[in-house]
């Protein structure tokens, strides 16, 4: 673990100094997307990995984060940072409302129920005029500053914000893993009946994990809205996005602290680069490549790529 910590610090130092040398805006955008997806996938990993409850609806939290911030900013000129906080509160609310009935379901029933919830949210936001319906919301252009959470001359400030968010997510995930909560979640995953018989309140701990997951996804929603300055239902509440979050965790290693980070560094470049280099001629190629990767990993290496780096380090 000592060695692991060293590698981690080195890796973060590299990430912290990269923008000083990086002049290419596309690469900068790529790294921002990687870190954003890593953050969300870490969030997914807490409920899907540690607690073993496969959620295919996490994009709903991303959407709630993005939309809450946008609506508050556009209609009431509320500062985006406060909007982020409000988004987190609403996301946790949604997690509790959805989690309470859904966590009684097991296995496939739960997975399909989360798909249903995610899709229902998508339908609501596509038809809700107050939030711009299918057209979406354009963020007002504000003076660039950290308080306004908007930067127009360079992507670098966004880069550092999302880097800090990712570090925050890793810290949260580490805290969960090492705490009593982490042990409870793993017990719930491995043997729910056994955990219950030991007096663990399964519902409660699943709910806590789901709420943490919701917060980590929701802050990314706010970030995305402020970064792209335009949100609409299919860019924020898509089922495919929820699936990507799970796939990233799977590629890196489900239930491993750094699994989602590794997964994001493999998956996002794979997707973006095939898209850029193959263009419209290669439409679908990115899906073929990563789906084969997903199938192969699920069959032969369910512990993910992270296991390649950490032999014997459970």
């Amino acid at each position: 673990m000592k060695k692991g910590l060293l590698v981690f610090i080195l890796f973060m130092c590299i990430l912290a100094v990269v923008p000083l040398f990086l002049r290419d805006p596309f690469l900068c955008h790529l790294l921002i997307m990687i870190m954003m997806y890593a953050t969300m996938s870490i969030g997914w990993n807490i409920i899907g990995g540690y607690a073993g409850q496969v959620s295919f609806g996490n994009a709903a939290f991303f959407g709630v984060g993005a939309y809450t911030t946008a609506v508050l900013l556009v209609n009431y000129s509320v500062n985006p940072w406060l909007g982020m906080l409000a988004g987190c509160v609403l996301s946790v609310g949604l997690a509790v409302v959805v989690g309470y009935p859904c966590f009684r379901l097991r296995g496939h029933y739960f997975a399909i129920a989360t798909i249903a919830v995610g899709e229902i949210m998508g339908v609501i936001f596509t038809n809700w005029d107050y939030v711009g319906a299918a057209v979406g919301i354009y963020m007002p252009i504000l003076e660039e500053s950290i308080t306004n959470f908007e930067f127009h001359s360079s992507k670098i400030p966004y880069y550092y914000i999302i880097l800090i968010m990712m570090l925050f997510a890793i810290a949260v995930s580490y805290a969960v893993e090492e705490s009593r909560l982490g042990y409870y979640l793993r017990a719930i995953k491995d043997d729910p009946d056994g955990a219950r018989s030991l007096g663990i309140d399964i519902q409660k701990y699943k709910m806590i994990a789901f709420s943490i997951s919701a917060v980590l996804t929701s802050i990314c929603g706010t970030f995305y809205g402020q970064y792209v300055l335009y949100i609409h239902p299919s860019s924020t509440m898509d089922l495919m996005m929820s699936i990507h979050l799970c796939i990233i965790a799977l590629i890196g290693g489900i239930g491993k602290l750094f699994g989602p980070v590794v997964g994001a560094f493999v998956f996002i470049p794979l997707m973006e680069l095939t898209r850029v280099y193959l263009g419209s001629e290669g439409q679908g190629i990115d899906m073929i490549i990563y789906s084969l990767l997903v199938i192969m990993i699920a069959i032969w290496r369910p512990q993910g790529l992270w296991a390649l780096f950490s032999k014997g380090d459970k």
């Binding site: 029933y109 129920a113 229902i120 679908g284 899906m287 199938i295």
Partner: protein, 287 residues
């Protein structure tokens, strides 16, 4: 006004038969091996493309190409079993979910690469046009599709209940170990379940292609509908799926008619949530 309402009811029932047919394959595979095929809708998409290309390349009407599409899909199902499913039959649920999700993305990617995201439709078929039955206008294609779905569902039911092979499949679904002691090769039964389960989607896809657009994402909505049908009817129950299909079809068109067409999908999904919260085993499911 009343005429429109009856019209809506009839169209809901007709599409419900198709949902039932799509769901039967899903429920069969789930009932036998506890694996949910998340790629089910994508096989439907493949079947629809096959029917489309049979028409474009050989001028074959979807009704004539139906047997060919069905056979092709049967083979595709068996191949899927041996290549992708057999290695994970005893794996944790997580791996199983990811493999079938992987197949979903794979098939969609292949369709997008080969045929692009365009919407395609067979312009003129044998069953184009409308007929009036007791004052209700129905598309002939829809009517034929519903009839085909009923026949196919009946055949599956008969196959499971009355043929030796079908009963062997039921036995494996009931108790793998006991079936093995009776000399049933469960591996071959699983392959058969995938073959037959996917072949039913082949039938559904052929029937649908005569009045529905084909595009790479066409499967996703049908697949979610099939999940709702399966949950409603009970995982593993063929007659349950049949009744549930009609209910889902009715809920879909009625909520579209009475509330708003753009929200109808939401009501079907709410139906799913309502069912699994209140009665997780569905109407006719085991346990």
């Amino acid at each position: 006004m009343e005429g429109v309402f009856t019209q809506t009811l009839v169209s809901g029932i007709l599409i419900g038969f198709i949902y039932a047919l799509i769901a039967v394959g899903l429920t069969m595979i789930f009932g036998m091996m506890d694996i949910v095929n998340f790629a089910h809708g994508e096989y439907l998409m493949v079947a629809m493309y096959f029917a489309y290309w049979f028409f474009v390349l050989f001028g074959m009407d979807p009704l004539y190409s139906l047997p060919w599409v069905t056979v092709l899909l049967f083979l595709l199902g068996v191949i899927t079993y041996y290549v992708f499913i057999r290695p994970i039959i005893n794996a944790p649920m997580l791996s199983q979910i990811f493999v079938t999700f992987g197949i979903l993305i794979l098939l969609r990617g292949v369709a997008q690469y080969l045929w692009k995201a365009d919407y395609r439709m067979i312009p003129q078929t044998l069953t184009s046009g409308n007929v009036s039955i007791f004052g209700v206008y129905v598309g002939v294609s829809q009517l034929v599709a519903a009839a085909g779905a009923i026949i196919c569902n009946g055949l599956i039911f008969w196959f499971l209940k009355s043929t030796k092979m079908g009963m062997a499949m039921e036995a494996v679904a009931e108790d793998k170990e006991a079936a093995k002691l009776m000399g049933i090769n469960s591996d071959r039964m699983f392959a058969l379940a995938w073959g037959v389960g996917i072949a039913t989607v082949g039938v559904a896809g052929s029937l649908l292609s005569s009045f529905y657009y084909v595009f790479p994402e066409v499967g996703s909505n049908f697949c979610l509908m099939a999940f709702v049908v399966v949950a409603l009817g009970g995982f593993g129950s063929v007659p349950g799926a049949f009744i549930a299909g009609i209910i889902v079809g009715l809920v879909e068109v009625l909520s579209g008619y009475l509330i708003a067409p753009s929200l109808k999908f939401m009501f079907v999904l709410l139906l799913y949530l309502g069912v699994v919260f209140i009665r997780p085993q569905g109407f006719m499911g085991r346990k």
